[in-house]
């Protein structure tokens, strides 16, 4: 099966007064048609920047994509001119953002915001776009869609607005949706609803989904594959199954230990990861996770450990990946 999206050695930097921030530092991954991939990591690990780089939405200045390739349906998005990348945005690749409260324009009606994209990309008439907008709002579970179309964002709750954002993302039938922490700003009960909705709709329409989150708990149920990022780099990737039941990077293990799990260790205390994420302008030599890692050895600060296969389809960027099996983890 051909890859839908292939990101290769992507590097995005920000130029600040503090120095150069290597927010995304050489990440490589791919997404298949119709696949759901989760990108996981703490705040500031570069996961959002990496996703925004795909559509070249990094504000410049201060940010800049300095290297790599982003091949979407075989074309490198980084070489397209402005007019061509606009044809991809919202049309072939759509985004759902973290902040539903501020991501919709407060002075334009929901109808205007939904239909303008369809009219722009698909050249539909206003009537067709209106009809389709009603259909989309119905699909994302908003009642009385005809009436709702005439309303403004402030008439909608946070969860409802995120449903509108999802309708917006689906409106031009994209091949890929990038959802940047789509549920972080929502109540826990709403989070599940929104995630279910996104999963159902993307599966039904065969749309690939990249879901960016800091919550590994979200990932297990909704993603087929997981990419774990730390300090601008991918530290581990594998299927959800592998990441959950057999993580091979200390950071992944740390993340898993810090979220409550229903499947094992009932009653066990949560173990937070000690320390702070590193300052991206002054990364230590070697493995960026070393200062927080309980399994660190002398070799860890010599060079950045490369991603290497530990199991079929599972890669880890830890020197001790082979030793990090279940017995050692439980001993900790």
């Amino acid at each position: 099966m051909p890859k839908l999206l292939e990101v290769e050695d992507l590097r995005t930097q920000f130029y600040t007064t503090e120095g150069v921030v290597k927010a995304v530092d050489g990440i490589t991954y791919s997404v298949d048609e119709g696949e759901t991939v989760a990108i996981v990591g703490e705040s500031g690990c570069g996961k959002s920047v990496g996703a925004m780089s795909v559509l070249r939405l990094i504000p410049n200045p201060p940010g800049q994509i300095v290297g790599g390739q982003i091949r979407f349906q075989g074309r490198d998005l980084l070489t397209l001119d402005d007019a061509e990348i606009r044809k991809v945005r919202g049309h072939k690749i759509a985004m759902v953002f973290q902040e539903p409260m501020t991501s919709l324009n407060p002075v334009l009606s929901i109808g205007t915001q939904l239909t303008e994209t369809m009219m722009h990309h698909l050249g539909t008439t206003q009537q067709e776009a209106d009809r389709r907008a009603v259909e989309l709002l119905g699909m994302v579970g908003i009642g009385e869609p005809e009436r709702r179309l005439k309303q403004y964002p402030h008439h909608f709750s946070g969860g409802m607005r995120q449903r509108v954002m999802i309708a917006l993302a689906l409106s031009c039938e994209p091949r890929l949706i990038i959802a940047d922490e789509p549920t972080t700003a929502l109540d826990v009960t709403i989070q599940a609803q929104i995630l279910e909705l996104m999963r159902d709709l993307t599966k039904r329409m065969g749309v690939a989904l990249i879901i960016i989150t800091h919550n590994l708990g979200v990932v297990a149920r909704y993603a087929e594959r997981v990419i774990v990022m730390y300090a601008g780099k991918i530290v581990e990737t594998g299927t959800s199954e592998q990441i959950y039941h057999n993580p091979r990077h200390p950071y992944t293990i740390g993340l898993l230990n810090s979220v409550p799990r229903m499947d094992l260790h009932r009653g066990k205390r949560l173990v937070p990861i000690e320390g702070q994420p590193p300052d991206l302008t002054r990364l230590p030599p070697g493995c960026a996770y070393r200062p927080r890692c309980r399994w660190a050895i002398a070799d860890c600060d010599r060079a950045v450990p490369p991603l290497a296969e530990v199991a079929d389809g599972q890669l880890s960027a830890c020197l001790r990946r082979a030793e990090l099996d279940a017995s050692m983890r439980d001993a900790s």
Binding site: L55, L57, I85, R86, K87, V88, R89, G90, H91, A94, M95, F97, E99, T102, S103, L104, N105, P106, V107, L108, S109, E116, T117, H120, H121, Y152, H154, M165, L168
Partner: protein, 323 residues
């Protein structure tokens, strides 16, 4: 909405009453009156009898509350009184000048909007490029240059240029012609003071447009609009501009209200008989009736302007609803 407007209009009644009382008392707190100025001002001798006669005629000897009642009751009978200096009806004195001042204020506002909004947008979109620096220098100059000086430079410039190009010096006409009689002549006269004041007035509005738009362009919904693949033009015009216009509308409208009575020096430079000039004359001559009515006119203009601003808010931003 219409209920809200009615409510607001009713609320202006106490404001107007307060303003009427204030200007009435202030005028009378200043020593001297129109009779003293008229009789002694020219250096002639006048006795107490003449003074009393004059005061009796103008009603200045009546008790204060009665004078105030005469002033206020005029609004119910439609009689605004006569000017104490010229003896002509106040409505007539103001009417002539009001037309000119109104027209000048509208034209200056038009000039300001035509300059400010596009320049503000360009400046924000091209932030920190030479275009932005140029626009900012242009608008700083507008704040720094007094409009009467600019007016003089415009008149001199017109004289010099027409002399050099056509051999005959030309300057704007001095006599006011109503735009309904001779629009070209009227425009030839008023366009220059409109440019001189409009430029100054655009300066603040340009900077306001720029900073408001820059703020809006950082909003999440602008990022959403970009992620939709919309043209930059559409993003600015449809998504960003409407959100950034609230402060711009406020200062433009308030400035408009100010222009109605505050263009004293510019009117002098272009020899225009506007409200500003009339205002100064009325105050200097202690013309109580005229000054009172002029102040009330300006108060009404400010009240209506503020109402207009509120209505514009509701039109620009659907979150603002009055009830």
């Amino acid at each position: 909405m219409s209920k809200y407007i009615l409510h607001r209009l009713l609320l202006t009644i106490p404001t107007l009453f307060g303003a009427a009382l204030l200007v009435f008392l202030l005028m009378r707190a200043v020593p001297g009156d129109v009779c003293e100025i008229r009789l002694f001002g020219t250096g002639l001798y006048a006795d107490q009898e003449q003074l009393d006669q004059c005061r009796d005629k103008l009603g200045l000897n009546k008790p204060m509350p009665l004078q105030f009642w005469d002033f206020v009751s005029g609004y119910f009978t439609g009689d605004l009184g006569e000017s104490m200096w010229t003896g002509k009806p106040v409505a007539e004195e103001i009417g002539l000048r009001f037309q000119l001042s109104m027209q000048l204020a509208i034209m200056a506002t038009a000039v300001a909007v035509i300059i400010a909004i596009p320049l503000g947008i360009i400046s924000a979109v091209k932030q920190n490029t030479w275009i932005d620096y140029l626009v900012r220098a242009f608008s700083i100059a507008g704040i720094a240059i007094p409009s009467f000086w600019l007016g003089i430079v415009i008149i001199l410039g017109l004289l010099i240029i027409t002399q050099a190009w056509f051999g005959i010096p030309w300057m704007p006409p001095i006599e006011y012609v109503s735009p309904f009689e001779d629009p070209m002549e009227n425009l030839a006269q008023l366009i220059w003071p409109a440019v001189a004041t409009g430029y100054r007035y655009s300066a603040v509005a340009t900077r306001m447009t720029r900073s408001a738009l820059l703020e809006v362009l950082r909003e999440d919904y602008v990022r959403t609009a970009r992620a939709k693949g919309l043209l930059e033009k559409v993003i600015i015009n449809r998504h960003a501009l409407k959100n950034s216009l609230l402060p711009v509308v406020t200062i433009i409208a308030l400035e408009f209200a100010f222009l109605m009575g505050g263009l004293v020096v510019t009117e002098q430079v272009f020899n225009l008989n506007g409200l500003g000039k009339l205002f100064v004359e009325a105050v200097l001559q202690h013309d109580f009736t005229l000054t009172q009515q002029l102040v009330m006119l300006v108060v009404v203009i400010f009240v209506l302007t503020n109402l207009f601003i509120d209505i514009m808010y509701a039109w620009l931003d659907p979150r603002i609803r009055y009830s």
